[in-house]
Amino acid sequence: MTARVFIPRDAAALSVGANSVAEAISREANARGEAIEIVRTGSRGMLWLEPLVEIETSGRRIAYGPVAARDVPSLFAARLLRGGDHALRLGPTEDLDWMKRQQRLTFSRIGVIDPLSLDDYCARDGLKGLKKALTLSPADVVDQVLQSGLRGRGGAGFPAGIKWKTVQGAQAERKYVVCNADEGDSGTFADRMVMEGDPFMLIEGMAIAAYAVGASKGYIYLRSEYPHAAITMERAIHLAEKAGWIGNDAFGQGKPFHLELRIGAGAYICGEETSLLDSLEGKRGMVRAKPPLPALSGLFGRPTLINNVLTLAAVPFILAEGGNAYADYGMGRSRGTLPIQLGGNILRGGLIERAFGVTLREIIEDFGGGTASGRPVRAVQVGGPLGAYLSEKELDLPLDYETLAANKAMLGHGGIVVFDDTADMAKMARFAFHFCAAESCGKCTPCRVGAVRGEETVGKIIAGRDIEANLALVRDLCEVMTDGSLCAHGGLTPMPVLSAIDRFPEDFAAPAHRTAAE
């Protein structure tokens, strides 16, 4: 009997040698005359165990990891293909604590299926959402999304259903659906994992959205730093077209939906939706003033639905199971599940999908096992480079849009970056300004000039010059940037800066009085 061996081809797994492990397994099986079929999958999200190898035996998958190519002969000697015992054997994948404690709605297939197999996709509930949607009127599809309580996962948390309704109500000959796949926030990789691990789900979500709002053309705007996602996504679009899921007659009665992948060019700001639209139009990625809303006048001045990858990827489940089934998860006004990305100085980092309301402590301590360095956790940045630095004392906060906002923090795209006690928070504050300056589109003065002056001023504080006066200046500057910037890039840079100053004041004290470990 041919044994099935599952090895991820997710970029994270490839970055630590998954291809050489696959080659070694293939070679070893050949040499031993064992018949195997290697299936390349997305990643299960247990990134510290990559490359993770799974064997299917009696209907279950047994996990081994992290596997290096040099481990392969000893794994075969231990009867790997029958799930034999070995130091790297972790047990049945579904029984692992990391997997059991999750509520995987969006990530249910990722790491399990061959991302480019239409059969695998359909065998595990793929296309159910789109088929259901096409039996409903577009207005009823929007109602399901409204009922689900789904909010934009890109960071702003705007109710998706309301956006959909606005685009649906706009009168125009041509409308667009645009997927924001410009996942530039440090500490985030869920969009990438979706595109590499289950690209058809994103295509299905976009098709449902196009049907609901009356769009005939879709674009995925993907950052250039994700070469593997680009390859998988391009192939998936081609396959979906060949299968007739999208194309000239996508929704019956000659209603077309064409989908195209576009690659960015290394500008972080193009993750801001209006800047993204300018970039798609072939211009400099400059932020636009709102109004007009992109929903009414977006790409090429047409009504445009623009949503993040995770927002669109949640839609097939919502249509297949009903908006209420999704809304059953979560807390307060944050409904459904959140794909949390745990990174930085963490022992067990990866992707965790949980209903809103899980605490930072459970994520960092129970899932993550504390820092990779073994030193105490000192600071945690939640929500990307524009998110706040929280202190260890605040880890009992539940992850929910409103709770974090009430604590001068934000959830953003769900990225959590952990720092140990060697982190110098004054340097991190300076970096926040440096990053803002490097990636500013330059349209508005508070961001373009403020970021540069902010970096200089924090530099003076670090050098111990006029600390009190310069801190006051930074606070003043932050107020101007918050109130006067055109978009969140300049408007939220003060969040990491001020959170560092307020929560870690000792790092901004005169050099002789600094307490942080060097």
């Binding site: 576009r262 990305q341 930085g344 100085n345 990636e439």
Partner: protein
């Protein structure tokens, strides 16, 4: 993945690449990517051709090229390593790696080519649980330590020298 191979600037080839894509909505970025893939950079002489084909001003074309970090305006003089220096990789020691590279190899990050290698800053490669990370020729290298980064640097320098 093998190292990308570029050809010398050729206006006829460039015009073909540009005209093939001129019918796309928002054709500029696909055109610039195609040129850079072919030649390794976007030659100044492409600006007028793009402007003419897309019926826009040369200033608009130049402004777009210069806006994006990815588009190079000089032919490459070797290989490029993009080293992630965003927060998550910083939390895993990326800055120490950057310093090490500068100290041991005299590399100036974002300072052009040396030994046929250009090391550039990138902010996030989406591998934040397995950093520090670098990107070279479409491949991501994770869990980098000083030795790993040195090996990568040496292999890129060697490839260029061949």
């Amino acid at each position: 993945m093998s190292m990308s191979v570029h050809v010398a600037w050729d206006e006829g080839v460039a015009r073909e690449l540009i005209e093939e894509r001129a019918g796309l909505e928002g054709a500029m970025l696909p055109i610039l990517h195609a040129l850079q893939k072919k030649f390794g950079y976007v030659d100044a002489r492409a600006v007028a051709v793009i402007a003419k084909v897309l019926n826009i001003s040369r200033a608009e074309v130049f402004g777009t090229i210069s806006f994006y970090h990815d588009f190079k305006r000089q032919p490459p003089m070797g290989g490029t390593i993009k080293l992630c220096r965003a927060e998550a990789c910083q939390a895993r020691g990326a800055e120490n790696l950057a310093e090490h590279l500068e100290r041991v190899h005299g590399v100036k990050i974002d300072g052009g080519y040396r030994n046929g290698v250009s090391v550039e800053t990138v902010y996030c490669l989406g591998n934040c649980a397995l950093g520090p990370n670098a990107l070279h020729d479409g491949e991501i290298f994770g869990r980098l330590d000083a030795q790993g980064l040195e090996d990568l640097y040496a292999s890129v320098a060697r490839k260029t020298g061949e």
